[in-house]
């Protein structure tokens, strides 16, 4: 393997670990410790999609995400400390504590934000892409969403418009088989999700979302086309969430062993480690080194965020409106 490729793979590996450890911290420390409010939707199991896809984009490309967006945020460059601070409601969070886990955003990094209203980010993506096109930029906009979002009217209207107006949108569907408790076969009349954009003349493709390199390559390919031809693309990633839908999910809709079994077989981080080790890209000790280093980094970010100040109650009263205008 070329040094450059090796470096890239390790970069992906690092980012995936970072997301995983961040979310494990949320799951194992923040939630039990009640350092967290509302709803947290962990993407443990879906890291390869976030990392592979976002690394295939240019830095100035924009990303809109969903309720399950910690991974997208982090892959786009948000720093763990400001994310921890935000999900713990601190003044120093990326949204000053006003957004929380479901509303992470960072304008400077092109992470336009999580939109936890299912489907609702897709028309926004079309609008962002329209702006890029009007500006004459070849920036593109990636919209992540779950397979459940395909059934929203918003997706339909956005996909038709993006195709009609030839807007540079990547529609990136993460098929993790469930929308809360509802399995794919009870939400979509057609099971071949990659065909669900044909009605707009967009040919979809299914991609193994558990292999970061496959994700990266697939997104690179369509991103290039989207960028050059200014047409939307659509990919469906096979993936799985190993945790419940959110914190309080009883998971009655799947067997106790299903998630464990899937995890054993399909964990994208294990898959990547196994392959890297197997083809001698990295020696085992290096993976351990990576794991330790990133975990320490996440621990530190967490500890730091934990010390950060709470907002004053009255800060709630400011910020609904921009002052002045144009």
């Amino acid at each position: 393997m070329a040094a450059k490729d090796r470096e890239q793979l390790l970069h992906f590996y690092e980012d995936m670990l970072r997301i995983r450890f961040f979310e494990e911290k949320v799951r194992d420390v923040l939630l039990p410790g009640k350092l967290f409010r509302g709803s947290s939707h962990l993407a443990i199991g879906q890291e390869a999609v976030a990392v592979g896809a976002i690394h295939a984009l240019r830095e100035d490309d924009l990303v809109v995400s969903t309720h399950r967006g910690h991974g997208h945020a982090m892959a786009k460059g948000l720093d763990p400390r400001s994310m921890f601070a935000e999900v713990m409601g601190r003044k120093t969070g990326c949204c000053r504590g006003k957004g929380g886990s479901m509303h992470l955003s960072d304008a400077g990094l092109g992470f336009v934000g999580e939109n936890p209203v299912v489907g609702s980010n897709t028309p926004m993506a079309a609008g962002l892409a329209l702006a890029a096109k009007l500006e004459g930029s070849d920036r593109l906009v990636a919209a992540f969403f779950g397979e459940g979002a395909l059934n929203t009217g918003a997706f339909h209207e956005a996909a038709n418009l993006a195709a009609l107006w030839q807007l540079p949108v990547l529609f990136l569907c993460e098929d993790n088989l469930y929308a809360i408790s509802v399995p794919l076969e009870r939400s979509s009349a057609l099971q071949d999700l990659e065909r669900r954009a044909e009605a707009y003349g967009i040919q979809g493709q299914r991609v193994n979302g558990m292999r970061v390199m496959e994700v990266y390559e697939a997104v690179s390919r369509v991103a290039q086309e989207t960028r050059e031809r200014s047409v939307p693309s659509y990919l469906v990633f096979d993936t799985y969430r190993f945790e419940g839908h959110h914190t309080s999910d009883k998971q009655t809709y799947r067997t106790r062993d299903e998630a464990l079994e899937e995890f054993r077989k399909r964990d994208p981080i294990h898959i990547l480690e196994f392959e890297m080790i197997d083809d001698h890209t990295v020696p085992i000790p290096l993976t351990i080194e990576y794991r330790d280093r990133i975990r320490a980094e996440i621990d530190e970010a967490f500890e730091q965020a934990l010390q950060e100040p709470w907002p004053e109650a009255d800060e709630a009263l400011a910020g609904a409106y921009a002052e002045g205008g144009e």
Binding site: F36, R37, G38, S39, G89, R90, K91, G93, C95, G97, K98, G99, G100, M102, H103, P116, V117, V118, G119, G148, A149, N151, T152, G153, A179, I180, S181, V182, R186, S187, S188, K250, T252, Y253, W310, P311, E312, A313, D314, E315, A316, L317, A318, G319, A320
Partner: protein, 328 residues
């Protein structure tokens, strides 16, 4: 003879009502996201699919426009659908069906059709769900002719009002409070159907009238206890139904107390507190010894972080302060 009571949660009260009405009338059907197999994200429909089958209790895709429209269609064909919209913020998505169709089809048709639909939806904040999952939108729907709007506070009301809503031949927007599903209260063992449009005096008092509903009503009752310790005797009125609104009950109370406070979680500007104050000002201006007071959310979205969220959502202390202000 003393009523026989049992102590159940708000969610159980909802479930009990749904179950009883489904047993009573085959035409009652349920659908919405995750209401079937899973039993609803707040557990309000647990066990119902098992008991009544997949035909009558259905999981839908994430398609609120369709949920709303299917309810309208099924009702027009003689069924009595109870549709759940998982968060009242997403009533926005279903509002064409609710507002443009359900509310108007009977009138526009010159009375040919009836639309016996209940749109159940949890609203409200206080649990850290932030701006898009915490709104209180009762004012939207109470403003729409053709709809009824119910916002129960105690489990007993939830059960009795939901039964009435299901039996009503009109579309009813039935607003629950997401931070209130585990709230416990006593309900009679016997069947009880609480008629829509009738307020209840939840606490009798002579000095000031506090009108409140949904979760905030329980804060008002707490506030009344605090105030009682200071010698202020608060009457707490729960309209229970916001459309139609039992203004007579409110006027009767003000006739006695001559002071009015309205407390609700929704944003103050354009909230139903304004409607109540206006009706009182129109019809009983001279009864008011002092300016009426509204205790409601300031004009901002709901923030995530706890200190800020508590600042925005009216708390017991805010109601206490409001009552004091109303007494001058």
């Amino acid at each position: 003879m003393a009523e026989k009571l049992r102590n159940i949660t708000f969610a159980q009260a909802i479930r009990t009502a749904l179950r009883a009405e489904m047993k009573r009338d085959e035409r009652v059907i349920l659908f919405g996201e995750d209401v079937g197999y899973y039993g609803g994200v707040y557990g309000a429909t647990v066990g119902l699919q098992k008991e009544f089958g997949e035909d009558r209790v259905r999981d839908t895709p994430i398609s609120e426009m369709a949920i709303g429209g299917v309810a309208v269609g099924a009702a027009l064909a003689g069924y009595r659908p109870v549709a759940e919209i998982m968060y009242c913020d997403f009533l926005a998505h279903a509002s064409d069906a609710i507002v443009n169709n359900a509310a108007k089809w009977r009138y526009m048709s010159g009375g040919q059709f009836a639309l016996p639909i209940v749109f159940r939806s949890p609203g409200g904040g206080g649990a850290g769900y932030a701006a898009q999952h915490s709104q209180s939108l009762e004012a939207w729907f109470a403003h729409i002719p053709g709809l009824k709007v119910v916002a129960p506070s105690l489990p007993r009301d939830a059960r009795g009002l939901l039964k009435a809503a299901i039996r009503d031949d009109n579309p009813v927007v039935f607003l629950e409070h997401k931070a209130h599903y585990t709230f416990k209260g006593e309900v009679p063992v016997e069947e009880e159907v609480i008629p829509l449009g009738v307020a209840e005096v939840k606490r009798a008092g002579n000095d000031v009238t506090v009108v409140s509903w949904s979760k905030t009503l329980t804060f008002a009752l707490e506030a009344a206890e605090t105030l009682a310790a200071e010698g202020i005797d608060t009457e707490v009125i729960d309209p229970r139904t916001l459309q139609p609104l039992d203004i007579e009950a409110i006027l009767a109370s003000i006739g006695k107390t001559r002071h009015l406070v309205v407390a609700h979680e929704a944003v103050q500007f354009g909230g139903l507190g304004g409607e109540i104050v206006a009706q009182v000002a129109e019809r009983a201006l001279d009864s008011l010894k002092r300016p009426p007071v509204r205790v409601a959310a300031p004009f901002v979205p709901i923030p995530y972080s706890e200190p800020m969220e508590l600042r925005v959502i009216p708390q017991v202390a805010d109601i206490v302060a409001g009552v004091r202000r109303s007494l001058g």
